[in-house]
Amino acid sequence: MNWRLLFERLSFLTIVAGLALYALWPWIPGTRAIPTRTLVVYGFSILGEVMSEGIFPAFQSEWEMRRGESLQFISSFAGSGTVTNQMILGVPAEVGVLSLELDALRLVKAGVLRGPTWRQLPYAGVLNRTPFIILVRPGNPKGIHGFSDLARPGIGVVHPDPLTSGGANWAIVAEYGAASRHSPDPAQAGYQLLLGIWRNVVAQAASARAARTQFENGFGDALITYEQEAIRDLARGRLRAEIVYPRSTIFSEHTLVVVDKNIAIEQRELVEAFVAFLWSDPAQSIFVKFGYRSMNETLNESNLLFGHIQDPFLIRDFGDWPQAKREIVDAIWKNRVLQEIGQ
């Protein structure tokens, strides 16, 4: 008998068996309490943290107190456009939180939702909001004070990709609006600023969250993003950047959709309880704590880090999202700015 060979074989088998045991452990009866209920939530990128660390645990304990049932959240977070595409392809999302209403309208068009059902929810389905701001390197070495400074030659801008990111669409409308709102020739002024900024884009990421990761890893001089992203890190003393509040910028409004066709009858009550919870004061306070601005203005006073914006605007000021998409994102950014840069 070759003892060494035997030893090698035995140790190999032990490792394989150990790995299999580890992998199967939670499914071996008696090793843990299996959660009785699950809820599938898809959300746009920056929402991952507040949901996983704040909202989910809070609702889990509330549901357990109310019903005595343990609840497990099955969740996925990516760019708003990506999430929307996944929902159109048929992922089993019961609740979705999208960065912009435009994505929710795409769900209606694809037949995922019966109609604009979210408009019957509180605040027409807007869960929370946050203004768009500019993040710059510590000390603001390039002297950036507003969107117009981003168009200066020699500035590197990190921008999420409008194809997959809701935040990128908000950012484009923010840039356009900042230039056009008080201009005698709005369309031309907006076009000029977009062209200037997009000439300076050095990196594009699939989501707002990924764009920030790129910025943190040293790309560019400025990042256009949600205030929430920056506030959250500021609160924890982890922000290695400075927030620049543009004089004039947009408040993004994040839309919640309930995907009725994916909700089994026995899930209905749970989903409705969760949705109602999201607009309750405790849940909205969690959003505020994580840097989102609540639709309930009085709650916003508890977060002292929120900055002041002189001239805020909303998508409503451009009609609605379909109109803004058509007239700003498509007609000006996609058909003119991108063409011009591509040449």
Binding site: I15, Y22, A23, S75, S76, A78, Q86, L89, G90, T213
Partner: protein, 276 residues
């Protein structure tokens, strides 16, 4: 005397190309791998424990292992069977079939994922009929399993078929002459010669399944605690800026792959020694 001189001369002339190779490989392969471990270790053991005390990290690793086990098992049997049929029988379209079964090596994995979605997804060719019945293979663990079967199919085949091709038909025929059934001939004559191929094929399948990303990201829906595999977890955490968390899982995955590779290497070395 002669042999020794040849050996030494080989050594000295080899110095330049060897150092050049190392110089190329260092930034290309060795340093990136080292970076994983350095970053993973930077947070200290505490960070490792924190990462693995999260249920989604644990789940991702477990789910990846389970899928890898299941894939190796099914493709082990299916791949061997395919190799047996292709090596043994002559039939029209055999050449075409051998190309087809090896295709997954050449197709980008993202395309594999897309094609599975277009077939089994709720809007897909077959999926649209299954969906009303409440059957949904995509965005579920089974969909991930299907994708891994597809992507890793050729590895088992590639390890087993060359052995079968070389196997003299006379042994098998001899078995038949003494009254062996087809199964007995397979079990006692063919299977023992295949052991090595089966072993390395299974390990390769396992390793590829463990690291599969492109097809999985398309078909899984990337759901934490349900369909998120370890590579998807790493990517999601990295994108979210949690680099240390991503690295902790990456280091475990890399270590597992190294271990697998080491076993495979030792095994093939031993075999070539035995043959020699």
């Amino acid at each position: 005397m002669k042999t020794r001189r040849r050996r030494t001369s080989r050594k000295t002339t080899g110095l330049l190309p060897i150092s050049f190779l190392l110089l190329v490989l260092l930034p290309l392969l060795l340093m990136p791998l080292g970076a994983i471990y350095i970053f993973a270790a930077r947070g200290g053991l505490g960070h490792f424990i924190r990462t693995f005390s999260q249920s989604d990290a644990q789940f991702a690793l477990r789910f990846s292992l389970l899928i890898a086990f299941a894939t190796s098992l099914v493709n082990g049997v299916l791949g061997t069977f395919a190799a047996y049929v292709l090596a043994k029988y002559r039939f029209p379209g055999r050449e075409a079939l051998s190309v087809v079964v090896n295709l997954p090596v050449a197709i980008p994995t993202v395309v594999v994922g897309t094609s599975l979605l277009l077939l089994w997804g709720p809007l897909g060719l077959l999926g649209q009929f299954l969906d009303p019945m409440g059957v949904q293979p995509m965005f579920a663990p089974f969909g991930v399993f299907l994708a891994h079967l597809f992507v890793t199919f050729p590895y088992m085949l590639g390890a087993v078929k060359p052995v079968l091709d070389e196997l003299e038909a006379t042994y098998e025929e001899a078995a038949y002459t003494i009254g062996a059934s087809r199964w007995q001939a397979f079990r006692f004559v063919i299977l023992p010669t295949l052991r090595g191929g089966l072993f390395s094929g299974t390990l390769l399948t396992f390793a590829h399944s463990l690291g599969e990303f492109g097809a999985t990201v398309m078909v899984s829906g990337n759901l934490r605690l349900r369909t998120q595999t370890a590579p998807l977890y790493i990517f999601a955490q990295f994108e979210a800026g949690n680099i240390e968390t991503a690295n902790a899982v990456a280091a475990v995955l890399a270590t597992l792959s190294f271990a697998l590779f080491f076993v495979l290497l030792r095994f093939t070395q031993r075999r070539s020694q035995r043959v020699a």
